[in-house]
């Protein structure tokens, strides 16, 4: 047992070194822009760059739209499957796993060929269409996470009783979903939302191939042309990811711990 503990420490320390050395080196590197001293110059240059601001804003808006679209698609479906169509669950689970199987680059290639400017549904003919297609693509990428988060949330509430109670009180379907079900799974939905945000914010492949002015292509451009700014951007990106994950952890403390009634 003693040697077991020794080896556990060895594994832990080696692992920690592999993960922390690159992070610390990146922070250190990002502070070196001014010769001889540590400074936040790289951050100032990056944050002051108009293109940083516009692309970041674009990606934030794209991420928010992705979350809204994802909620609109996933919440009713997951709710309905729990309530009425449990036999569809394996099919829906399979579909939500597909984006993990089909690489993003393949999905977006399909979009470009199928929704090009001279196709029956010409998304790519206009700027807004292309923006919409980007949000749609991101929603596809986030399906596995969103569906699992919402489904886990639904598992902890008694969907059927809540629905029946609402119906007895005279609520319609819209009211049931928006005022009864959604507030009960809000924490789960928000966890899915933050994860989606973390994935989407710096996404490169889809944004670049759809020629959108998003944060991912901007990162690529800076990475190819500058020395210290990329390190600063990496630190910022890590902080954003960290922020999203911490919010999920904080939220999970408020989530109901177990099923009130197993469904």
């Amino acid at each position: 047992m003693k040697s077991g503990k020794f080896w556990a420490w060895v594994v832990f320390v080696v692992g920690a070194a592999y993960f922390f050395i690159p992070l610390m080196a990146t922070v250190e590197f990002s502070l070196r822009m001014r010769r001889g001293v540590h400074s936040f110059d790289a951050y100032q240059v990056v944050l002051g760059d108009a293109r940083f601001q516009s692309t970041f804003l674009f990606s934030v808006i794209a991420a928010l739209c992705t979350i809204i679209l994802g909620v609109l698609i996933v919440v009713p479906a997951a709710y309905w499957i729990r309530l009425r169509l449990p036999q569809l669950r394996p099919i829906v689970e399979f579909i939500t796993l597909l984006p993990l199987v089909i690489p993003a680059i393949v999905i977006v290639f399909g979009y470009i060929r199928m929704y090009g400017s001279n196709s029956p549904l010409p998304f790519l003919a206009s700027n807004w269409g292309a923006n919409a297609l980007l949000v749609i693509g991101y929603t596809t990428l986030s399906l596995p996470y969103m569906y699992r988060a919402v489904d886990t949330g639904l598992r902890t509430i008694d969907v059927r009783t809540l629905t029946e109670a609402a119906q007895i009180l005279g609520a319609g379907w819209g009211t049931i979903i928006t005022r009864v079900i959604l507030p009960n799974v809000l924490i789960a939905v928000l966890s899915g939302a933050f994860l989606t945000f973390a994935i989407v914010i710096g996404e490169f492949t889809m944004a670049s191939l759809l020629s959108r002015p998003a944060f991912g292509p901007y990162l690529q451009n800076i990475g190819a042309n500058r020395a210290y700014e990329p390190a600063a951007l990496a630190v910022i990106a890590f902080a954003i990811t960290w922020g999203c994950m911490s919010l999920i952890q904080i939220l999970s403390r408020f989530a109901p711990k177990s099923a009130n009634r197993p469904n």
């Binding site: 556990a8 690159p22 690489p103 290639f109 979009y111 191939l209 990162l219």
Partner: protein
């Protein structure tokens, strides 16, 4: 059991008409799932099928196997598949064992409890820290003027670039991909190790099993399916990754996703049929991997209830 009594109750207390009424208004039954299925069909399934069908067609629309055969006969394409498979395979295997070792260390190793929560939090972050920023971080560390590179050179007099280190080799990319592969393994496998019930260990001990026998005959068989399933997930994860590699080398690196990217990003898609075939090959490889994943997952879930 609860479920059964609940629905009986519902049947007993509820007057019959509402249920009957919805029975022949068929669309309402599907209305909740309709947006999901329409979305999945239009933006996931049909675009993929479009490429798959395109892979088997020639320029005039007739059926052909030439595109698929070209994947094998064109050495630059078949090489790109090989390097992609190699990188994905080894980063998955190494990532899986390293992740498993870390998971066992924090769950069973008798370390203080903060190591567990710190590792899990960090793994959640690092498994999502991929793409371009990851490449930037490694360039700042081990790039030609990176912090660790210069430290090694100035302090220990080791020039890693003279020793043949390069991010653009299979080994270089594997080392970088491990940064998100290991944490992903940790995130997925820790619940599986938690699922090992204490009673099993006690039962084994009561029956006189040694620690080694307990591991060989209880722990490994129970963890094995979810471990293998995760390996396959890691494989697919690395196989589709493009941004990190692209940040290191731009379009020059010869791996499949970058090959497809440059085919698509050129001013003219000089051979769309070939691009279809490349995409089809990617789907086949990750698809096969995922068929195994689903199979192993259903096997492992039997034990983790």
């Amino acid at each position: 059991m609860t479920d059964l009594s609940l629905s009986n109750q519902a049947f007993a207390t509820k007057p019959v008409p509402p249920k009957e009424a919805t029975a022949f208004r068929l669309p309402t039954q599907w209305i909740g799932v309709a947006p999901f299925f329409i979305f999945a069909l239009m933006f996931l399934i049909l675009p993929t099928l479009y490429l798959v069908v395109g892979a088997f067609r020639n320029g005039e629309g007739g059926f052909t196997l030439d595109n698929i055969l070209q994947l094998v006969s064109d050495p630059s394409i078949s090489n790109s598949y090989w390097s992609s498979i190699k990188i994905s395979f080894w980063s998955a295997i190494i990532g899986a064992f390293a992740g498993l070792a870390i998971a066992i260390a924090i769950v069973r190793g008798g370390l203080p409890s903060w190591t567990r929560s710190a590792t899990l939090t960090f793994s959640g972050v690092a498994s999502n820290f991929a793409g371009l920023p990851l490449a930037f971080a490694f360039l700042a560390t081990l790039g030609r003027v990176g912090i660790v590179t210069t430290l090694l050179r100035d302090v220990l007099n080791i020039n890693i670039y003279a020793m043949g280190f390069n991010f653009l080799t299979t080994t270089g990319l594997i080392a970088v991909y491990l940064f998100f592969q290991i944490p992903l393994m940790v995130v997925i496998i820790v619940p599986a190790i938690d699922g090992l019930k204490k009673e099993w260990g006690e039962a084994a001990a009561t029956l006189g099993a040694t620690q080694a026998q307990y591991w060989r005959m209880v722990v490994i068989p129970v963890i094995w399916p979810s471990f293998l399933g995760t390996v396959i997930l890691l494989f697919a994860n690395a196989f589709g990754a493009i941004a990190t590699a692209y940040a290191f080398a731009g379009p020059t690196l010869n791996i499949v996703p970058i090959k497809l990217y440059s085919q698509m990003n050129g001013d003219v898609l000089h051979n769309p049929q070939l691009a279809y075939a490349i995409a089809f090959g990617m789907i086949v490889i990750t698809g096969l991997a995922n068929v195994f994943y689903i199979w192993f997952r259903t096997r492992s879930e039997r034990w983790l209830k």
